[in-house]
């Protein structure tokens, strides 16, 4: 049965949940918009790979806030790095400009003004340099490593000056 309701679009996430979203929201997803435009007849259901239902929940939250002019209230603080990465990949797949900008900025904010030790600890990055290698590459742009950046809580890897 073709969907005759022209205001709602059906999107099926990877975990099998079907979301009925407003056409205006679907329009912000350029990938979905392209699928709609390419289809000759009214499309029944659009599958969106790599997007899970919890992603769609957040996308709908963001949409509601931005329609009300409150997009600045949207926050991804409660997501850990892995979750943020997956959400970012989903939004990238759907090609949603504004939300992509918000999420990439969120990642940049998590990296901003933190010391190297903090970033390693927080993002789970292992230091695979030898002490000599490490000292050598730091020396190449030495000025960037001075200053009061935020340090990690435990002083396990005290490599800063």
């Amino acid at each position: 049965m073709a969907s005759s309701s022209s205001n709602l679009i059906s999107l099926k996430t990877s975990d099998g949940t079907v979301f009925k979203v407003e056409r205006a929201l679907a329009k912000t997803m350029k990938t979905v918009q392209a699928i709609i435009e390419e289809a000759d007849a009214n499309i029944y259901m659009i599958p969106i790979h790599n997007v899970f239902s919890h992603h769609m929940d957040m996308i709908i939250d963001y949409y509601k806030l931005s329609v009300a002019g409150k997009s600045k209230e949207f926050s991804v603080e409660k997501l850990d790095n892995d979750e943020l990465k997956d959400f970012l990949l989903a939004v990238h797949y759907l090609n949603m400009e504004d939300l992509f900008e918000v999420l990439t900025q969120a990642v940049a904010d998590r990296l901003e003004k933190k010391s190297v030790g903090y970033v390693r600890k927080y993002f789970g990055i292992e230091n695979d340099f030898t002490p000599e290698e490490y000292a050598a590459i730091r020396k190449k742009n030495d000025w960037a490593f001075k200053g009061d950046d935020i340090e990690p809580e435990e002083d396990e890897e005290k490599q800063e000056e």
């Binding site: 790095n81 892995d82 990465k85 970012l88 990949l89 990238h92 990439t104 900025q105 990642v107 940049a108 990296l111 901003e112 003004k113 933190k114 010391s115 190297v116 970033v119 390693r120 993002f123 789970g124 990055i125 292992e126 230091n127 695979d128 340099f129 490490y134 590459i137 730091r138 190449k140 742009n141 030495d142 000025w143 960037a144 490593f145 200053g147 950046d149």
Partner: protein, 494 residues
């Protein structure tokens, strides 16, 4: 815990890395072996005093900036850059960055720092670096702004070397956007302008330039869409702008300095650009302007009220553009009597398609002896029958000593205008007069917002006179919320 962030695809990482400051970007380069090359994904390189030398607080602490008291009477201090420390350290750090940067392709390269001919070699080297990596946008902004410099010697400007812009490896010219401030641009004698043939936009500010270069550039750059010449110094006073591709043109505050050091402002004589949709220039020259465009949609000009002809000629010219929709007008009023003459003269030809008018008015300086009124706005409205949106801002508002009674315009009516923004208010009688009349005679008006905020142009900060919040706002509300005021429900006071 695993390193999730570096699992993101390159194009996303590149985007995120572009949002980091230079310092944070460099820190990512030492996180691990995988991260060592990732910073090369960044496509946008931007170097300015904050990014490279530190926040304003750090600049003061380390001596890159010093506070200098200029005026003991008014305790005015300026922040001066330290010319001994600053440039050297800036260059050292940027050189370090560029020498280690692993990226092979960049989109934009911006330098915003005070440089002059002394650092020519360095700048040339940096341009080569960018061109070799296929750069599309270059900004070289060599002013001291927002700070000043305690320098007694005025060094010569950095002279742009056109030979650097040829990519010797690929021979492909990738440059699309060039923006220069405080440089010297001379027409090249030993090379042509083919490296610029893909240029889409050119912006020159505080640049010494010769017209031969402009004319040559316009004929070489068949794709040039935007040209902006602000506060530039020319060799002649009547440059010709001829282009079959230009859409936007801005010529503002340009001048010619003659041999005896006499400064004369540029008169735009010929603008032969049949695709031009947007023009910004000085209104005093509009009478002599010979334009060849039928598709102009936007015009932006300033009128200095030293001659009333300027005002009328400007509107007469605007009436010749059959598709003109948006007009932005800055009016510098010198004396009151000229303003009153303007009110009495009607604008002959209507502006048939004008939909939006933004007006910034600078009031007379003398607020004790001078008077003011805004009645000439009604003349402009009368001449714009299809106007939908009007914005008036009084720049640098002042409260006038002599408050007069409010008059009724009487013979006025407008059937289209829907939205009005009225900024820069302090509660003067003429502000109230304007609002009362517009409420009465603009029949389709939906809303008028009255606020104290104004700004000189889109890139300046909003300002306001605190008098509004002390007494002005109340004064206006009192006069405008009475029952006899027609349409008062459409009023919104900030």
């Amino acid at each position: 815990m695993d390193d999730h962030i570096s699992e993101l695809p390159d194009d996303i990482l590149s985007y995120i890395l572009t949002m980091l400051s230079i310092k944070d970007l460099l820190k990512t380069s030492v996180l691990s072996k995988r991260w060592r090359k990732l910073w090369g994904l960044r496509k946008h390189l931007y170097f300015d005093i904050y990014n490279v030398l530190g926040t304003e607080k750090e600049l003061l602490e380390k001596g890159y900036l010093t506070e200098v008291t200029v005026d003991i009477v008014y305790s005015r201090t300026y922040r001066c850059v330290n010319l001994d420390l600053g440039p050297k350290e800036f260059i050292k750090r940027v050189d370090q960055f560029l020498n280690n940067f692993p990226g092979t392709a960049i989109d934009s390269f911006f330098v915003n720092f005070y440089f002059d001919c002394e650092q020519s070699n360095t700048i040339d080297r940096w341009i080569c670096f960018a061109i070799a990596r296929g750069v599309e946008r270059i900004n070289l902004l060599f002013r001291w702004w927002p700070y000043t410099a305690n320098s007694t010697t005025q060094n010569k400007l950095y002279k742009l070397d056109f030979g650097l812009f040829t990519n010797t490896i690929t021979n492909v010219s990738t440059l699309k956007h060039l923006r220069l401030e405080k440089c010297l641009v001379c027409h090249p004698t030993n090379c042509d302008l083919t490296p610029f043939k893909h240029l889409r936009s050119l912006s020159l500010k505080f640049v010494k330039v010769d017209e031969i270069f402009i004319e040559s550039l316009l004929s070489n750059c068949q794709l040039l869409r935007e040209l902006s010449l602000v506060h530039c110094e020319f060799n002649s006073s009547t440059p010709k702008i001829v282009s079959s591709s230009l859409y936007h043109l801005k010529v503002s505050g340009c001048c010619k300095v003659s041999s005896n050091n006499f400064t004369r402002f540029i008169r735009l004589m010929l603008v032969d650009c049949f695709r031009l949709t947007s023009l910004e220039c000085c209104g005093n020259d509009l009478s002599a302007l010979n334009t060849n465009t039928r598709v102009l949609k936007r015009i932006n000009f300033s009128i200095y009220f030293d001659e009333i002809e300027n005002y009328l000629n400007a509107f007469a010219l605007c009436a010749t553009f059959p598709e003109l929709e948006i007009m932005r007008l800055k009016i510098y009023t010198i004396t009151m009597d000229l303003l009153q003459v303007a009110t009495s003269l009607k604008i002959a030809q209507p502006l048939e398609h004008l939909k939006q008018l933004d007006c910034i008015i600078y009031l007379p300086f003398d607020t004790i002896n001078e008077e003011c009124d805004l009645m000439m706005i009604f003349n402009i409205l009368q001449a714009s029958p299809l106007l939908q949106k009007l914005s008036i801002m009084i720049a640098e508002p002042k409260f006038f000593e002599k408050q007069k009674d409010i008059r009724d315009v009487e013979i006025f009516s407008h059937d289209e205008i829907k939205v009005i923004e009225f900024g820069g208010c302090v509660g003067n009688w003429f502000e109230i007069e304007f609002v009362m009349n517009i409420l009465k005679y603009a029949h389709k008006l939906e809303q008028i917002v009255v606020s104290p905020y104004f700004r000189e142009d889109d890139s300046s900060n909003w300002m306001f006179d605190p008098l509004w919040f002390q007494s002005g706002r109340e004064r206006m509300i009192e006069k405008l919320q009475g029952e006899e005021v027609v349409g008062r429900e459409k009023l919104m006071f900030i």
